[in-house]
Symmetry: C2
Subunit: 292 residues, 2 copies
C-alpha cells in the first residue's frame, strides 16, 4: 500500500464514472503529489472536471483509452465512480489486443455480474502495461476506520439493526448483487439492487411516509464490500449525500465496512451527521456469521 | 389437504388484508360450499366485501376477533392478503388470554420478522379454539402447478435468469426478507423488500427507462415461498396485475414456485400473458443449490 507519487515521471489515470467519488479520489491524489489525468466516461461522469487535465471517452472505447495512456505516459489507473449503463455492443471500440479476445469481452460486458465485468476491464487496462490500483492505495485516508466517528453512538436497537442488515448484505454480496441493506426494528426492509444506495434510501423514506414502517423504529443503513470483491473495484462509499438520504429515510445511522469502504469528505459528513443526530460507524463483519 | 365444507355447521373465517388474494380465496371457498365470514382488517382490506358477511376490525384487535369467532361459530380461519402496516402498541386490544402473554406479543408484532409475527398471530387465533388453515387447503386449485401455463415458453436466456433469480430469492428467503427477485441478462438487478412485488417491478421499469438495463435483455420475475415459511401464511401469489407490471418492466415472463405459491384468476391471467407475449411457469427450486 505505498502511496505518494512515484519518481519515474509517470502519471496516474483516473477512469471516472458517476458520483462524487472520482472527484474526491482525484483531489486526494493531487494532495499526495500526483498530477492525475482524468478519463471521464461519457454519460456517466457527472462532475465538473475543468480543474484537472481530462478527456471524455465512451464506456467501451478501449482504442481511445489506449491512445490516452500512451500519450500521457500513464503507468497506473484507478477505476472510480459508478458505471450505471452497460455498454451496448455497438459502443465497444476495440484495440487490436482486445479484438483478439472480443467474444469473451463482449459476453462479459453485456452479461456478467459487476465483478466479472470489473475483472475483464482490469485485464484490458493491464494489457496496456498500466497497473490498476485501488483508490485506497492512492489515498489511504479515504478508508473507513473501525468504530464511531462523530458524536452520536448507536444504541442497543441500532446494534440489532446493524446485525440484521449485515447478515442480509453478506448474503447478497455473495451473489454479486448489492452492497447495501436497510434494517428497521431488527427486520430487513430494503435491499440494494441496480438502483444504488441513494434510491434505496428514497424508497425507505417512501415506505415510512406510507406508514409501512413503524414510526417508533428508526433503523440503520449497512454498506459492506462484497465478499469476493477486488479492492481495485469501486469500493462502497458513503458521504454527505448518504447522510442526507439516511436522514430523509428517518434512520438512526450508517454502518459501513472498516478497511473495505470509503468515506468521502469525512469532516463535512460528520458535521452533517452530528447536526442530524445520526451515528456513523465503521464495522468489521465476521464474514462467516455476520456482525455481532 | 381435505377441502370442502365440513358438516358440523361451523363456519370458515377469512382474515383479509390488502390485495386481490382474500377475495379470490373467499370466492373459491364459496365454490366449495363454504359460507365464509370475512374479518376485513382496517386500513388493509381494500376489496368491496358487500357480497360476503363481513366486519371490519383493527389489526391488533384480538378482543373483536374473539367475539366474532364465538358469535359466528367459526372453527377454521384463513389468513389472506398483505398486512403492510405493523400495528402500533396502542392499536393492540388484547383479550384476557393475549394479555397474559402481552410483552411477548407486543415485542413480536412490533419487531419480529414477518414469519415470527405470523407464528404469533396463528398462536393467538388458535388459543380461541379456531384452527388456522392454508388457503390451499380451502381451494387447492389456486396452487401453482409445475411447468408452463399459457402459450409462451421461456427460452435459454430466460432459463438463465430464472436460475439467477432463484438463487437470490432463496438467499433472501432464508433471512425472512422477501420472496421476489428480478434477473436480467443473468444478473439480479432488483430484490423485494417491504415494498412488495408490484413496486419492485415498477422500479425495474424505471431502471429500464433510465437505460440502466440493457434494452436487449428482457429478464424474469421469480417468486418463491420462503424456505421455512408456514404454508398457512400468505403464500406468494401472482395474478393479472403481476402480468401487467411485468410487461411494463419489459420482462420475458414470470416463474413462481409450484405447490407453494398461488395463481389468482388463472384464466384471465394466462389470456393477458399470452396477449403480452409473456411466459408463466411453475418451478421447483432445488433448495440446497437453487434452480437449474
Amino acid at each position: 500500500m505505498a502511496s505518494g507519487r512515484p519518481d519515474n515521471g509517470k502519471r496516474l489515470a483516473i477512469i471516472a464514472g458517476s458520483g462524487l467519488l472520482p472527484f474526491h479520489v482525484a483531489q486526494a491524489a493531487r494532495s499526495h503529489g500526483e498530477n492525475p489525468y482524468i478519463l471521464a466516461l461519457t454519460d456517466e461522469a457527472d462532475q465538473d472536471w475543468s480543474a484537472f487535465d481530462h478527456i471524455r471517452i465512451g464506456v467501451g472505447d478501449y482504442a481511445a483509452m489506449s491512445r490516452a495512456f500512451e500519450r500521457e505516459g500513464i503507468d497506473r489507473a484507478v477505476l472510480s465512480g459508478a458505471v450505471r449503463r452497460r455498454p451496448e455492443w455497438r459502443d465497444i471500440r476495440p484495440t487490436l489486443r482486445t479484438l483478439l479476445g472480443l467474444p469473451a469481452v463482449v459476453r462479459t460486458l453485456l452479461m456478467g455480474g459487476d465483478d466479472a465485468v470489473l475483472r475483464m476491464v482490469i485485464r484490458l487496462i493491464e494489457a496496456n502495461g498500466v497497473r490498476v490500483v485501488g483508490a485506497d492505495e492512492i489515498a489511504p485516508e479515504l478508508l473507513a476506520t473501525e468504530g464511531v466517528i462523530g458524536k452520536v453512538t448507536p444504541d442497543a436497537e441500532a446494534m440489532q439493526d446493524i446485525a440484521a442488515g449485515c447478515a442480509a448484505a453478506l448474503a447478497l454480496g455473495s451473489l454479486d448483487v448489492g452492497q447495501g441493506a436497510v434494517a428497521v426494528g431488527g427486520r430487513v426492509i430494503a435491499l440494494e439492487g441496480a438502483e444504488g444506495t441513494d434510491q434505496m434510501l428514497e424508497r425507505v423514506a417512501e415506505l415510512r411516509r406510507q406508514g409501512r414502517i413503524s414510526s417508533r423504529r428508526k433503523g440503520v443503513l449497512v454498506k459492506l464490500c462484497k465478499p469476493g470483491q477486488d479492492s481495485r473495484a469501486d469500493l462502497p462509499a458513503i458521504g454527505v449525500d448518504t447522510v442526507h438520504w439516511a436522514q430523509a429515510a428517518g434512520l438512526a445511522g450508517i454502518a459501513s465496512e472498516a478497511g473495505r469502504s470509503l468515506v468521502l469528505d469525512r469532516r463535512r459528513m460528520v458535521e452533517e451527521a452530528d447536526r442530524a443526530g445520526l451515528f456513523i460507524t465503521g464495522i468489521l463483519p465476521r464474514r462467516s456469521e455476520g456482525y455481532r
